[in-house]
């Protein structure tokens, strides 16, 4: 995987296509141009990646959060 090329391609991945996978893990192809498989379970996702002919150790897996949610960090829980 060429990380530089991957990042450029992934940044341009159509958001409406990515939106189909909200709440799931996705396995990106090595070029960052497409999604090989998706699942809510990482083990099941790896099996799908292998079925697609890829080595899971070579594939970037990321979780697709709801893009309409805002993430706000904090120093922990107030007690």
């Amino acid at each position: 995987m060429d990380m530089h090329i991957f990042q450029q391609n992934r940044a341009n991945f159509p958001p409406d296509k990515l939106a189909q996978f909200v709440g799931q893990y996705v396995a990106w192809n090595p070029e960052g141009t497409g999604i090989l498989a998706s699942d809510v379970d990482q083990v099941a996702l790896e099996n799908a990646v292998r079925s697609a002919g890829y080595d899971p150790s070579d594939i970037l897996v990321s979780f697709v959060p709801n893009p309409n949610e805002s993430n706000v960090g904090g120093g922990g829980l107030a007690t």
Binding site: Q42, L60, F63, P67, N71, G73
Partner: protein, 153 residues
């Protein structure tokens, strides 16, 4: 090492960003290597995290045994209760795919909950880098500092 921010597109305009439909987050890819295997995962550069944490479902895929691992409860944003976090040593590797690749070993936490992003916090990650967050350029610049324990490959 330059880390471009990851664009995240929102269907509705974002008021706090002047109506833009895109947020840019400092998310980068990290390779973790355990005793048995290696995996590539996304993670968020997070100055608000004391520790570097990944979801614990990743541990068995790496060959990391958490059964006897030291553990603490951590407070995660938006969680009503602290979450169990178990720590183990893994090898971490980051690269820009061009000129810079860094590898080191660190204790990271594995949390028993879903995360939108794995978190690259102070312990195990940010403590070893001086980071410049360039908002206008939508990128972060990481430079290993004097405490960096690993190597540039």
């Amino acid at each position: 090492m330059i880390v471009p921010y990851l664009p995240v597109h929102r269907s509705q305009p974002i008021v706090s960003l002047g109506g833009s439909h895109t947020r840019y987050r400092p998310v980068m890819s990290v390779r973790l290597t355990g005793s048995a295997d290696t995996r590539l995962r996304d993670a968020l550069l997070d100055t608000g995290s004391d520790d570097t944490v990944f979801v614990d479902t990743l541990a068995p895929l790496l060959g990391v045994d958490l059964t006897q691992a030291p553990e603490i409860n951590v407070g995660l944003a938006a969680r009503p209760q602290p979450v169990r976090c178990r720590f183990a040593q893994v090898k971490l590797r980051i690269t820009d795919g061009l000129n810079e690749t860094y590898e080191w070993t660190a204790y990271i936490g594995f949390v028993a909950t879903q995360l939108n992003y794995n978190l690259l916090g102070h312990a195990g990650f940010l403590q070893y880098f001086d980071v410049e967050f360039q908002g206008a350029n939508r990128q972060a610049i990481l430079k290993p500092n004097v405490s960096f324990p690993g190597s540039k490959i």
